[in-house]
């Protein structure tokens, strides 16, 4: 089985979010970038397929050279090769189109992406990629088993979960649950040394355009201070009369 894991290069969760150029650009100053948490679960599941079922695992990112350390980290975790599509990622559709070309040219059976990335939280790329390549698609995937081309997957739904059957070729939008958190891997020294020698190929983009455009950004207005109360009677009164929440 040939697996491609999509790796989004995102600001670490604890990063302060600021904008520059008249609030039109994300300010990367002092921000540490990491593998998108949803993708990390997917990458670890892919490693399981590699070790237990002999799959090959490539990782891919659509982005500029600054995303290469994140791809190297994925190689250090155990992916075989990395691909970077050399274009600034501007919207989900553009990213999905660039990925679709690599998926089709590379003949991948299974593409594992994260249900959303924690920068723009679009939740678009996996579904669009499935739509563009004609592969089956399972979103919010929390367990995945492949036997030949037959697939059993579980996905989270509002208020519960459901189990589905489908077949390869498949794209999933993965998330926490795909593997136990304790199984997530931290690159060790050997992995890091090996990652240096693994191929990271840079491919030029097909030139797909965007369909949406983030014109400007804004931070939420600062919140008023919390009202601390001494008694539950006071709380109930405020919730009823002031907040109209009960």
């Amino acid at each position: 089985m040939k697996i491609l894991v999509c790796i989004s290069h995102v600001p670490d969760t604890t990063s302060k979010i600021n904008f520059t150029d008249g609030d039109t650009k994300f300010d990367t100053n002092g921000v540490q970038f990491v593998i998108n948490p949803n993708d990390e679960f997917g990458l670890t599941r892919a490693m399981w397929f590699k070790e237990k079922q002999g799959a090959s695992v490539d990782v891919i990112n659509v982005g500029g050279p600054e995303t290469e350390p994140t791809l190297r980290k994925a190689l250090a975790i155990g992916a075989d090769t990395a691909i970077r599509v050399n274009v600034e990622a501007k919207d989900g559709f553009q990213v999905a189109k660039e990925l679709a070309k690599v998926v089709q040219d590379g003949g991948y059976d299974l593409v594992i992406a994260g249900r959303e990335s924690i920068d723009y939280n679009g939740g678009m790329v996996p579904g669009m990629l499935a739509g563009l390549t004609g592969a089956n698609f399972v979103n919010t995937c929390i367990s995945l088993d492949v036997d030949g081309t037959a697939v059993t997957a579980t996905r989270e739904i509002d208020g519960g979960k459901e189990t589905v059957k489908t077949s390869l070729p498949l794209v999933i939008g993965g998330q926490k649950g795909l593997v136990e958190e304790s199984d997530l891997r931290i690159p060790n020294m050997r992995g890091i040394m090996m990652a240096r020698k693994k191929p990271l190929s840079v491919v030029e983009p097909s030139g797909a355009g965007t369909e949406t455009n983030a014109v400007s950004f804004e931070k939420p207005a600062p919140k008023g201070a919390v009202k601390l109360v001494e008694t539950v009677d006071e709380l109930i009164d405020l919730l009823h009369n002031e907040a109209k929440a009960i």
Partner: protein, 320 residues
């Protein structure tokens, strides 16, 4: 020309989020001087849709669609959008809507903006405000395609009644290959789900153990709320994973979020920022959650919660 809205129902009854997206679609239709068509799948009584501004309902009736299927639903909605000459398609941000929206975007070659929080700032260029960076910012996003798809965040717009009646027609589009087949669904039917809840009562590691959740469930019961928890609580197996709220868990956009014994780590707050009123009960006055809260009590959950439950019960009895 029209605004198309996908309205979800459960057992034939339209969900509140569907009435909200109908209201929102009516708002856009008024801006653009056009009408609203709803697509329903095995929808029952469509009268409520008329009350919230829908002019026409295309009801796709097909027993094969009783179990949700993203590819087939996307095909059906795309066919409706084409039949109606829709310029804008509006969906909720339920798990199912988020699942089908990107497939619909490909089928219609339409730009899609998710997590939108208000009416378009302008119709031409079509610009909407959406959350970004896990609720730490907003992005003003322009959609440049002929057809635009908007995913409206839960409780972002509210319900707006409009006088009108919806004419309902059966609609039978070609649904194509299903690709994915549902084997089994595991869902607590008697509980309010976090996604639909008006009120969410959530507790964290401060509760010390799963045996102490009785008082949390009791509060949820009194308030008709869904129960939720922080990540360590579900990791420890005290509560099911589906209840875990936050960046790696579920988003909550309820009217009222009550957080008990939760520190308010940034990853947890990322999931609750779009809730309207936040109440925190924590014994540590320095807990970061107090900075994000509207109301707070500094106190021991094991003393505050039982008393609060008792008084809430009396309040509900007196006010219902």
């Amino acid at each position: 020309m029209s605004v198309l809205v996908y309205t979800e129902s459960e057992n034939g009854v339209f969900k509140k989020a569907s009435l909200e997206v109908a209201s929102y679609a009516k708002g856009i239709a008024d801006m653009m001087g056009t009408s609203v068509t709803a697509v329903a799948v095995n929808g029952g009584d469509t009268a409520p849709l008329g009350t919230y501004g829908v002019d026409k309902v295309l009801n796709i009736k097909d027993a094969k669609l009783d179990a949700f299927n993203a590819a087939a639903y996307a095909k059906g909605i795309a066919a409706a959008a084409k039949a109606e000459g829709a310029q804008v398609v509006v969906l909720t941000q339920s798990a199912n809507a988020k699942y089908l929206a990107p497939l619909l975007a490909v089928a219609l070659e339409a730009g899609y903006a998710s997590n939108v929080v208000s009416l378009p700032e302008s119709a031409s260029p079509f610009t909407v405000k959406r959350t970004a960076f896990t609720n730490k910012a907003f992005s003003h996003t322009e959609i440049s395609t002929e057809i635009k798809i908007v995913g409206l965040g839960q409780n972002a717009y509210g319900l707006k009644e409009a006088s009108g009646a919806a004419a309902t027609e059966d609609f039978s589009p070609e649904l194509g290959d299903f690709g994915v087949e549902v084997q089994s669904v595991d869902k607590a039917t008697d509980k309010v789900s976090i996604a639909d809840a008006e009120v969410v009562v959530s507790a964290g590691r401060g509760l010390k153990g799963p045996e102490n959740w009785g008082m949390i469930e009791e509060m949820a019961d009194i308030l008709g709320a869904a129960t939720a928890c922080s990540k360590p609580v579900s990791d420890l197996g005290w509560r099911p994973h589906g209840e875990h709220v936050g960046q790696t868990g579920k988003p909550v956009a309820s009217n009222l979020y009550i957080a008990i014994g939760i520190s308010g780590a940034i990853q947890h707050l990322a999931g609750i920022n779009s809730s309207k009123v936040k109440v925190v009960i924590n014994n540590d006055p320095e807990a970061p959650f107090f900075k994000a809260a509207d109301y707070g009590i500094v106190g021991d959950a094991f003393e505050v919660v039982p008393e609060l439950n008792e008084k809430l019960r009396a309040f509900k009895a007196a006010n219902s």
